[in-house]
């Protein structure tokens, strides 16, 4: 069971398992005892089968286009975005689009190569759950989420850039 960090840095455990993309020719193997996050395109392909199930969520890889699930986001209780390498910044744009463009309001989880110093950016882009890479010290997450008390620009966390807050 993964340790999941919340936006305030608190730690909880849950039973969402990330199901990797099956190899070419193999079929998707969802666990029976646990809730599963499956590749978004496969969820869409098996929509009849998966829709309405609260034990199934999806994950996007960094090269995926979140637009593919337009109109269906609110059916999902958890969406994860994978960071294949921490230096691959596409997941930040995906997260903002999910929140700000498509109005997704349920849990948005960062998975993959998630390190401490990236948490602050993830938080501002709308992620509210983080599964830290296991070798990193989870007890430092709260500190790393809160180095900054404010940002200059608008993002998912606030639509008011500093120039508007200064004016008020």
């Amino acid at each position: 069971m993964p340790d999941v960090i919340s936006q305030d840095g608190s730690i909880r455990q849950d039973d969402w398992i990330v199901v990797p993309r099956p190899a070419e020719g193999e079929s998707l193997d969802t666990p029976e005892q646990s809730k599963a996050l499956i590749p978004a395109d496969l969820w869409l392909a098996g929509y009849e089968h998966f829709t309405g199930r609260d034990d199934i969520g999806v994950w996007f890889d960094s090269h995926d286009e979140p637009e593919m699930l337009a109109g269906k986001f609110q059916e999902l209780s958890v969406i994860a975005v994978n960071f294949p390498k921490f230096s691959d910044g596409r997941g930040y744009s995906i997260a903002r689009l999910l929140r700000e463009r498509f109005g997704y309001e349920n849990e948005l989880r960062a998975i993959g190569d998630v390190l401490l110093d990236q948490l602050q950016f993830m938080k501002r882009c709308g992620f509210d759950a983080y599964v830290l890479r296991p070798d990193k010290d989870i007890n430092k997450a709260a500190r790393c989420l809160n180095f900054f008390s404010q940002g200059y620009q608008a993002a998912t966390d606030t639509d008011l850039p500093l120039f508007r807050r200064r004016a008020s």
């Binding site: 110093d117 010290d137 500190r143 900054f148 404010q150 200059y152 620009q153 200064r166």
Partner: protein, 550 residues
Amino acid sequence: MYVYDEHDRQIAAERVAQFRDQTERALAGELAEEEFLPLRLQNGLYVQRLAPMLRIAVPYGMLRADQLRRLARITRDYDKGYAHFTTRQNVQLNWPALEDVPDILAELAEVEMHANQTSGNCIRNTTTDQFSGVQSDEIADPRPYCEIIRQWSTFHPEFAFLPRKFKVAVNASEKTDRAAIQVHDIGLQMVRNDAGDLGFRVHVGGGLGRTPMVGPVIRDFLPEADLLTYLEAVLRVYNRYGRRDNKFKARIKILVKALTPEAFAEKVEAEWSHIKDSPSRLTRDAIDRIQAYFTEPDYQNVDHDTELLAKQRFEHRGFDQWLSHNVDTHKKPGYAIVTLTMKETGTPPGDVTDRQLEQIADLADEFSFGEVRVTHQQNVVLADVRQDRLLELWQAIVPMGFGTANLNTLTDVICCPGGDFCALANAKSIPVAEAIQRRFDDLDYLYDLGNIDLNISGCMNACGHHHVGNIGVLGVDKKGEEFYQISLGGSSHHDATIGKILGPSFAREDMPDVVAKIIDVYVDKRTEEESFLDTYRRVGIDPFKERVYA
């Protein structure tokens, strides 16, 4: 000049604490080298050939006297007593210790300075014309917009891990482009539309490096209020679709070229349509608030005294030469723009000692309202000097080494630190600059040659902007030996052009002779009015090839 308010101060202080924490974790082994790498780079910290190098941001080139004095103190306390002005208007220290960097940042924060995003795959320091606000032909002062971009881009949460580095430059003059905007990832040319509204012509996808390109226009007119939302749209398209599989194809110019500028522009417009009316759209109040920091200094009403200057010119030949070359016309009668050249032969271009930094600070206080500007040609500008004090200023700076009257001539070389300092370099660049400066030491001859941009880079990364030099020099490595390739015909101005490679490269000791032959061809072929670039454009590269490889 912009002054921090309590928000800026708080963010700066929090940044210092964050980097201190990151450095401690790195030194404790909790961060792998590859994990610390982007964190330190986004703080301007390279690990170099001999020591770490710290690049300190000088937003759009503006420095106050107290900041110069603090830089001087830092070079003394933490380094070897000198610093280097870079080709992007920043300042570099060559020898700081890694564990001292958090303390250096704390010292910088006290004078409203930082090293944020001076390297790494993020939005870098926004650069502009060093004559902003004091030239007569600009559309509007570009610095408030640079500051607006600085704030927007600082720790932008979506764009901290772009495919590659990202550089924005703004130009405001109609006639000249001293900011080289067409060779930036985004180049913003200030314009007014037919209705008289202020805005920007947007170039995207210019750049130097391995694949030099002049940036095409993707929008003819962007209203000023839409600046940030449009930049955000461009960056989002780039962040999502820029190549990440190959470092050498990761700059936005490759994406723009692959999609075509038209298709890229359509993608940006589509993205922008969703966000253009968001609260990130600038308000009149927000622009006014920043503009209020860039008001005119307290100019006195002094006459434009041509008689006095003529008399002084007659009495001091050196002053006469300096006035003709290093002093520019100011919009305010009775004032002048002075460029202090950091190009004394025998000193690496752009290098200054701690003492010189303090001297520049004193000059700023004494002659120019306590402010200076760093240029991308690695010189320093005193923008507001009274004409009747020019002689006094000249007499003060000559012994300091800032009075070499070679601005914009062949020996006003743009030059990266090269193989003497930089771990990326294939070859040394400083000795080449020096050898050429020694060869062309006759000022009268230099003046006769007119303006020639000679730009030297020690490697393909092109920090010395060699592609856009009228004469460009690129250090290359051939089986472990240093060679130099020459290109001709480049320009970074409104007529931006990438230079053409002359032919096979040369050994270092041959470089002064080779440059001399190139200059000889120009002297032989030119008409009375032609600059080097004019002649090159008229006669083409062949006559140069024939002479050099004869």
